[in-house]
């Protein structure tokens, strides 16, 4: 199985690990990530005004390229996923935005939300299957107690993202089970880490990250995993260092026995 893949700017720079482990794991699991050519930054946040078009076009370009190849579009960074999925929803369901975006794009065939956008985790759950992953695990992370940190971007707004139950998600917990470890459910796993606010308001982010870490720590987690480079940064930088934080792809690569490969 071949997917179009949109890595995004952070995965090229500060979050190279997130990307590299995902690619190696994909190979081990038997699917291929084909990077979109000349992708442009998604903008990091979904354009706020309902009247904005220009800032949505980079997403539309990526979506259309996947459509032309007849592939689903896979994302990994939470922010990219959030933006691209929502823009796709606009293209599918909001007449005005679709018309205006297509006027800008001047495509041979107008784009109308045909591409399916999948987060890497959704590929693992819905296409590969966690049972299948379990079979392929060579180094099960037995005994490790892991807290999943979802953050906000993957879950909300639930009606559009349709990723998981936004108030009681289970996908990363199921993932943790698949790699042989033990998930620790804690209530703040879907509360915000502060996001971009940490640039100028470190204290705010600090109180939020501390609350998340305390909650996970209190419930017995030994580490946190996340899919978002910004969450990882905030939790590490502004948390209280109670728990280590890593990308979920790193543990996946480890369990599949391809982590060393990547390190080389």
């Amino acid at each position: 199985m071949k997917y179009s893949y949109y890595p995004g700017c952070t995965l090229r720079t500060k979050a190279k690990d997130l990307d590299a482990y995902a690619r190696a794991s994909a190979v081990a699991l038997g699917f291929e990530l084909e990077e979109i050519e000349n992708w442009q930054c998604c903008g990091g946040v979904y354009p706020l005004g309902s009247d904005e078009i220009a800032s949505k076009l980079s997403s539309v370009r990526a979506l259309n390229e996947a459509k032309e190849k007849g592939q689903d579009l896979v994302t990994l960074c939470s922010a990219c996923h959030h933006v691209i999925k929502r823009v796709n929803d606009d293209m599918k369901n909001v007449d005005d935005i679709r018309t205006r975006a297509n006027n800008y794009m001047q495509l041979e065939e107008p784009y109308a939300g045909e591409t399916e956008v999948l987060h890497f985790l959704e590929v693992l759950r819905d296409r590969v299957g966690f049972d299948k992953i379990k079979e392929k695990v060579v180094n099960p992370l037995t005994g490790k107690k892991i807290g999943a940190y979802y953050g906000c971007l993957l879950l909300r707004p639930g009606k559009i993202l349709e990723f998981d139950n936004p108030e009681n998600p289970t996908i990363i917990e199921d993932f943790i089970r698949a790699i042989g470890a033990e998930p620790v459910v804690y209530p703040y796993r879907n509360e915000c880490c502060g996001g971009y606010i940490s640039l100028k308001e470190k204290d705010m982010s600090k109180s939020m990250c501390e609350r998340i870490m305390d909650s996970a720590d209190g419930m017995g987690a030994e580490m946190l995993i996340t899919a978002c480079p910004l969450c990882l940064y905030n939790l590490k930088k502004n948390g209280n260092d109670k728990l280590p934080v890593v990308y979920f792809t790193e543990l996946l690569a480890e369990a599949l026995g391809v982590k060393e490969e990547v390190a080389k």
Binding site: S50, L199, K200
Partner: protein, 129 residues
Amino acid sequence: MNTAKKQAEQIKEISGVNPLKCMKCGKCSASCPSYNEMDIKPHQFVSYVVNEDIESLVNSKSLWKCLSCFACVERCPRDVKPGKLIDAARQVVVRQKGQDYLSPNEIPELLDPDLPQQLLVSAFRRYRR
């Protein structure tokens, strides 16, 4: 139409929100992780727009404290989505020249070596035109 009314209409249009649907339950304010940092609370945003007091809104500290985490959007039982109103008010401000909350000169001292691009990109989008 007077200026306040015009601004209120603009906010409603940008956000796509009908603030009259609000039943004043306060679930937004109950959900907001930035509540304590805000001078105008999320549920008040709705009534400020209804009462067309946009002047207070655009000068509010809250504009720059909202995380856009969508907790209020997700949980609002009336589909009012206060977060979208805050976003819209912020747009009104940053679309005016010289009203940016973040200037390029500030950035070097805010940077650190681990800071992901995503953070800068989204902060720019939030704070600037």
